[in-house]
Symmetry: D2
Subunit: 97 residues, 4 copies
Amino acid sequence: MIAEFSIVPITGEESLSRYIAIVLKQVKESGLNYQLTPMGTIVEGECHEVFALIEKCHVTMKNHANRVLTRISIDDRGEDLSRMHRKVESVLEKLYE
Amino acid sequence: MIAEFSIVPITGEESLSRYIAIVLKQVKESGLNYQLTPMGTIVEGECHEVFALIEKCHVTMKNHANRVLTRISIDDRGEDLSRMHRKVESVLEKLYE
Amino acid sequence: MIAEFSIVPITGEESLSRYIAIVLKQVKESGLNYQLTPMGTIVEGECHEVFALIEKCHVTMKNHANRVLTRISIDDRGEDLSRMHRKVESVLEKLYE
Amino acid sequence: MIAEFSIVPITGEESLSRYIAIVLKQVKESGLNYQLTPMGTIVEGECHEVFALIEKCHVTMKNHANRVLTRISIDDRGEDLSRMHRKVESVLEKLYE
């Protein structure tokens, strides 16, 4: 499945890039296919792998702030593990049909 | 922590209440404190309990539709397990100060 | 349509209830049907009314913080303006069928 | 500000790419800076331009389905209009520090 998530620690620092780097490090270590966007991190993997990774990232961020806001969007079509790039291509094809 | 989630199966049925009832049944069985709103289900519990419940609900919904869209918002302040109602009260107090 | 939204100013204050009260004040002034939940504010109204209200609340919050994170979920079924409470009732009926 | 959005018509069609192409067409016509991701469309512009575009896309989708679910996430730091790519670069720099 594909999931996008963003984890925001309420620390008073306006710049969050340092914290996003902490999350991204764990995403890379997971070995899952991923993409960093201006609004979050998109990962692709088996359902349980993805939930476990996001929970781990959330728990890690709790070490950096007492309050953490996490937002997750999941698109689970289940059939395979290489939809992430094809989804974008599929839209672009229809746009130029 | 407090989390709100909504799980939408893409089945072609416009009414989703039958599917929300399936989710709510599992939420009730979990024993966690919960609230059903017009836009989703809010649950409160330890971090791992909440992630496990939402993953279980998502996996269950995959039995009803090939494609499932799930949206989760988490507010983790960690310190206790009875914030759900106090959060609303705290806002209302400030509104009428 | 029904929409839930949450507006988080990045100010360094861990408690956000003061800011939620500012939003809620504008929601009340709009005259729209609303419900405050532990995770956000749910409003119901015509499409343009709801978008205008949320934009207004977001712009107001920019007076309180340089960085503001806003999250909106919309469920637009269009046909009428009193679904907010019926949605919850409809699920509960199916749960106990 | 930067906003990501996704608009899902409940039509019974499992593939949504045809509908995302309709949204993307309007995004391109708006002239705003944008990026299509596997989970949504990210746009960058002045606050009112972005709200107006997303409302327009949502209303257009209502012509294709009686029920439409829209999800929006906004990150408004206000100061300039070219953060979209710098946000990703800023994280990557910290990752490799």
